[in-house]
Subunit: 338 residues, 4 copies
């Protein structure tokens, strides 16, 4: 496309996350516009499309096949992903797929293999933390070995409260999946096994949910990653990662913002939710994806990353059941992703 | 203009700041594009325009009169501003004018009066701190009187080193002008007098420059603002503002970022320069201006703010000479700016 | 005295501060014991002496002349100090004198001259900040010129609320006197002039008290010290000092303690009062004084420091009245104090 | 003893820790003095006794039986403890015993039972963290359930470098023993099982030492405590404990001290070693023990705490070998310790 042409995006899925992306594309990102908004709820689709000169519908495949569409931003629930991703691959459309790639590693592997057959990477997975300035800084520190080799990562991932229907396995598949990806990315290696411990349960957690949990992951080189996942912590949204290296430590997610002194206390406010905390990361993620998609490619985590994250979380769910270590089962990595 | 039309911007002045804005418009801001880039150095103009499908020239008035231009981003040195702003007013073009509005309050007042005669505000001044998330948070805190009335502001404004040719009066007109604007904005009132103290001079300051200086400003309600301006502090770029209120304090500019422990120390890195520190503020400033300019208006500090800042800095320069308090002389505020 | 002999201390003045010292001597400090407790209120004296095997009375001179007393800790209000200090000098008794040395510089100078006539320093003034670990660290940094020469000090001195009867001049004589001493000590030079600005008054300050105030002090080398004194800040006790030097800054009094995240906020608690904040400094002050007093000497700020602080605060009170700069008038420094 | 009598202390063991205590007793603590200093190296004993009017010897049992001794501070290596503690129990002497109580839980249990037979608690164990102001604050927070019930503790325990001869099991018995005690104390319950993970080994660790290690402990109520022990972290001494509770978190050990900005960085210095970090805790520990010992008792962790810590560390050492969870085997708790 020429410099002046805008990337025409089909947004599929116009729920909370999709609507957020719609606003981003229409109001914050140059070089792209909404061309088609699709949601099973036509009302949702219309609301997200508000003001944009674009098609609106409730048939996601129609959106993929719309000839006026250059790229797809996929923000539906995970179960719809495989079919739509395969359709995008057929058309060769660049996709930014909100996590998860698909709900399980088998389906994820089918997507990976279909893309490998296509021979080029067109699917990017929405692990937005890779675009957060602090994580980017940490990644650079680790890659440069400024602090020596990383030996262990201590992570905490806390939400004020969990949404209705949030289940035990979603602690892993919906939440810790972010740490699975950031750990793989920061360390540059695969996770080989996972174990899950259940500390004393918070009396404030919804019935049936063991909250918090402590997830342990071991990588190929032996680095251990521990993750406290606590989705009813009560005080806000907090994501921390401390890398302990041979010659020092580096912490992402320390408190910041306006510092107040009032009524006997000093301090500041905690982010309310992930969009608040990672707003700039989302902007950068979509901006860089748009730029890459205009050339037909991606600029971020790929389908293999989505597949590997699924395999790690599956091991995590198995480990929840057994109380022991569960092996992460990965297929051979196709050359496309090396 | 319709939703699909992009705002066609003439960038006048393609030096460091202008080139930065060129990148911003081309790559980060939706709804706008460079239509004309003008610089006395045609090479600069070409470099800034790189890749954009736009006119390039060295005649700024030609840029203002280019019929393919909807709005102007003025980033030349201050002495050229008055003529160009008046030309924009004649055409009714929205302008984002990098500070200062003009080099002195007399010329600034002429611009204010010309705009008042036009009867609508089309000139925005580039005081980007008003778009920094922390300052925005502080402004909201103060406006809501959560901490009671503000009584004093303690500010520090530090640069690693001053550029060649940076003179004593530029400490005020180039640097403290930002605090003059943020103080007026945060407190919602005019500054009435200014005094400048000269602490012991740093032996590392360039010859002839009294660095640091301590600037004191008093507002109509009696609030006192003290500003340490130190343009050769050596360690980086730092902007702090602590509002002391009746029931508490709030500090903008506390340290943040990745926290490291290494070699006997804990801490992080300091921002290198103002673009590093205020990158997001610049993005938000230009984004919101583009949105407003598409409707022919502005969304930020106006010409009166530019004029008032000039009047405060003039008082500051007089105070540098006398060592005492210098009155800020303001003309009557036209109804347009009330 | 031999190693086994304890220093027998007369405590004169058993109010809040004196009672605190009584507990310190009886319970925390080795090598000393209360031998005589005197207070105009015999009840106060008895309470402070509780449990100690010591004389109790209401005649301070009797305490000074008690043959069973080796040293005096003077914690009465300032007006009683001169007579008692002169009596101690006559007996050659080491004294730890709570600030102020005396209520005004004339009387302070008389004490200085009497001590100079004695020919050795036996009077120590209770500027406890000199024993605070953070201030000690800052002093070492400045003396070593690690950050280059100090150019300016920014100080804040805040109390939750002022006691009944706290008057405008006490803002200087009772509160800023601490900054006067720490500035002289940290910078190693005399303060030459003082100016006081009155920001907008807090509506929560008691009637008749202009609170906060901004005190400016200039030293012999031209270093400027600014002090915000705010005795009804509402949120607690806070003492900060930021030294701005040629190659960096160093801040004493940053927030610390247990860091909490709860109910949407992060942060900690603010010290309630000066004893809370400086408990360890008081311990170290008295401990080191006891050790020195056993040899008949002092180990801390001397009578000249007390006199100079009085001269600075007198200039501050004059500056409150005039609104301009007031010169600090110092007599010639006797050789004993060089 | 009367108020005026000083507690006459026998210091047994005058190595680094013992010499430190000797200085503390002679110079910082009221109400006590060294009466006897014993060390296998008579030179060490003499050095530690320097200046004090006390017996010096190399026979520890002679020190215990010295009729001029009221209490014992035991700072020898662990293997000597059992015999000496039993001798002290026979004489009914109060003891402050540096950790460990004894090198293993069997011998510790013998001491516990001997004390239980005596019928009163006279042995205090030197877990000084219980006297650190931040830990004390955290303990009060947890006990008051201000943040709800504690669910998990995240701990880090780092030393700049390990001394020669530091072995794998000492990671647990010498270092993590502190976390074992603080966890028991903070949570008010016993630890029931322990597991040890070995992350990637630091290339800077001495040959044969797996450093760092990740120790997991589970308590009776199900609370999980994770401890990173890293004794060659390179940058200093750091002890952190974050309590995650139902309604918030609280962190002990956040960075503090003088905050500097210099050369592109902000931050402060890290404590060099445990004496630097816990100096005030040691002072308070010994001061309170002296006060209690004058009445023949203790005021701090007791022999049962020492025994339980030994049982936990034994489980830890077993867990190092097996890679799985090891049960903590505790005898029944005698009524004396309930």
């Amino acid at each position: 496309m020429t410099d002046r042409d805008e990337l025409r995006i089909a947004l599929i899925g116009a729920g909370r996350m999709g609507a957020d992306h719609a606003r981003r594309i229409s109001g914050r990102i140059s070089g792209a516009r909404l061309a088609h908004v699709s949601d099973l709820s036509l009302d949702n689709a219309k609301r997200a499309a508000a003001g944009a000169d674009c098609a609106v519908g409730d048939d996601p495949l129609a959106a993929v096949h719309d000839p006026g569409v250059d790229a797809v931003l996929l923000a539906t629930p995970g179960p719809a992903h495989e079919e739509l991703l395969l359709a995008c691959l057929e058309r060769g459309l660049p996709v930014l797929c909100e996590k998860p790639l698909t709900p399980d590693s088998d389906s994820a592997l089918r997507v990976v293999r279909a893309e490998a057959a296509l021979g080029r990477r067109t699917i990017q997975v929405g692990f937005m933390r890779r675009f957060d300035p602090e994580y980017v800084h940490l990644k650079a520190l680790l890659d440069a070995r400024e602090l020596g080799a990383p030996l262990t990562l201590h992570c905490a991932h806390r939400n004020a409260s969990s949404p209705p229907g949030f289940s035990d396995d979603m602690m892993i598949t919906d939440s810790v999946v972010h740490e699975a990806d950031t750990a793989r990315w920061l360390l540059g290696e695969e996770i080989t096994e996972v174990s899950v411990l259940r500390p004393r349960r918070s009396a404030l957690a919804p019935e049936g949910l063991a909250d918090p949990q402590l997830v342990l992951m071991r990588t190929a080189s032996g680095t251990i990653v521990d993750v406290e996942i606590f989705v009813n912590c009560g005080f806000g949204y907090q994501v921390r990662c401390e890398a302990v290296c041979e010659r020092g430590t580096a912490l992402v997610g320390a408190d910041h913002g306006v510092l107040r002194h009032t009524a006997g206390t000093w301090g500041g406010t905690v982010a309310a939710d992930f969009r608040d905390r990672f707003e700039r990361a989302y902007d950068d993620e979509v901006r860089r994806w748009v730029a890459a998609a205009r050339d037909g490619g991606i600029d971020g985590p790929d389908a293999w990353d989505g597949y590997a994250a699924a395999a790690v979380t599956e091991a995590g769910v198995r480990a929840q059941a057994t109380g022991g270590w569960a092996e992460v089962r990965l297929a051979e990595r196709p050359p496309l992703y090396r």
